[in-house]
Symmetry: C2
Amino acid sequence: MKSWEKHVKLFIPGPVEVYPDVLKEMARPVIGHRSSAFQDLFADTVAKLRKVMFTENDAFLSTSSATGVWEGCVRNCVAKKALACVNGAFSESWHKVALANGKQADKIEVPWGKAIKPEMLDEKLATGEYDALLFVHNETSTGVANPLYEVAKVMRKYPGVIFMVDAVSSLTGMKVEVDKLGIDVCLASVQKAFAIPPGLAIFTVSKKAYERAEKIKDRGYYFDFFTFKKFAEKNQTPSTPAIPQIYGLNLQLDKMLKEGMERRFERHKQMADYTRRWALARGFELFAEKGYESNTLTAVTNNMGISVSDLNEKLGERGVTISDGYGALKEKTFRIAHMGDTKLDEIKELLAMIDEILGGG
Amino acid sequence: MKSWEKHVKLFIPGPVEVYPDVLKEMARPVIGHRSSAFQDLFADTVAKLRKVMFTENDAFLSTSSATGVWEGCVRNCVAKKALACVNGAFSESWHKVALANGKQADKIEVPWGKAIKPEMLDEKLATGEYDALLFVHNETSTGVANPLYEVAKVMRKYPGVIFMVDAVSSLTGMKVEVDKLGIDVCLASVQKAFAIPPGLAIFTVSKKAYERAEKIKDRGYYFDFFTFKKFAEKNQTPSTPAIPQIYGLNLQLDKMLKEGMERRFERHKQMADYTRRWALARGFELFAEKGYESNTLTAVTNNMGISVSDLNEKLGERGVTISDGYGALKEKTFRIAHMGDTKLDEIKELLAMIDEILGGG
């Protein structure tokens, strides 16, 4: 057996565990991407996607990771200068992607584990220097959920600033009401709370974002919002898309709407609450600033000095895996994902295994 | 049953029919993209990919369609001006992608159905105006295989011109010896002769291409060759990749190497020969210029004035589909793909069905 053929159940913050029904759905025979069957699939999928994102804006399917859509965001919507809100590895990367695309971009930076506060933005945006905000809702590297709803209120004061939200590891696990919040571009990938194998990203575009993009010449092609729009009007994608992942997305959206979005958010909150209580009861601390803990993953501070790699090795022997800390946090934190199709009982089972391995508790 | 749930066997030039073993392989549980299991999968896949491409160059996996890699090519390798060789819809699009990325790009253009000849390039390149060539090996819209080997000989005279080859619908169905031909960037996607569902592109990068890219600042991030290189050195991809398609690719490469590449190319040639003979015997003409017919798909000129849409509707009732002509060629040609895992017997069966539908013959 090759190493990648061993099934290890994933409790890492993406890709997350994909349930057999989704894998089976993805194994459907392929259809032509210019066929009427594909147009039906596209229309049906996008309509449901807009529901779970609470939006009337255009929604698109991008055959790329979310990183690609980051590039699209900066190429389409940054004319003057972007302000990036940085408090972890992914928000830091988005800033770098802006610079790599020749864009002007400053950052508000707070230490990893801390949250970005609305007043920080307000102060910077008041200078009038910026025409776009790069905001990561849920920092996967630190388990911090930045206060999206409070930030959105501040953004109302700055209609000239395009509000772009990376909801990669929160969307469908935590509430993100695109229209109510006035989000101009909201993006995510499907291997997080959607619980689909990676290979597809999704995003929405507001009227205001199109108006900005219209004025920018060098938008490129692959992530040009107008290219997506032109083909979406025919219920198609600009180039050959990741059809298996779209099959998976269609199924998952059905399951979400059947579960009910409020119940789904509540399920994620329950798993998060349980995980946090467990960590604190064991004497661990939470890495996220109090009040800003994510509901889709928990980053636990390794204040007890356990060996995270030993723990994960032993979990591996039992057929499951969690994630060590990101980058420099490797042994300083560990991360447990509780999102997608994962149920509270599975989290309980996982944490009981960790208790067994660590002993005491 | 939803329209996209009906299995119609594909004889269209991409996505092509995917066999059950590949679909099953893709339905394996997902692994973490930063795990050692993924590193094993990556290393194993890339090593085999280089074999079927006859190259020692770096080979990369891009979570995008090949269109994305087109963008990468022009952003990484066009400093001065590109020359695009245009004789169909896809070669035309690559030129547009260059312009959309703010690059200078001229084109050599011949009518659809005709081939690009080496002397045409030679004349243009001799001006010294160009530092990159955009060359589509196999025009999927017209069934023309441009003379790659002859063009490669001309390219030897112009070491300052980066030689970029779109082998999207030829690679592994027709011989493309990357190193022998001196191809600097060779790209393809997996839904053509690889016979994998869409969602992944692959490409190789030569030393010369890196040297050019190094001097270009605004390469972006998602398709930046150096981003790919940095992560590939750790047997990783820059962002979360399309893992199911990589599983499929790994399996397909095993099958190719087991079949033997020469035998594989011969199988494609036999299917092409059979299809062409069939078309001519029925009184049809071939759309491709004589001597430049593709071995992976045949574009048949509809000189008999049949209704291509009626034919395809009737084929659909029998559970198979071919492709109408591309764009303006919709009713003027029809296209039959014979690539990937398709066997000669399946082509015989398809053509017999067409005979039955059209009568006479």
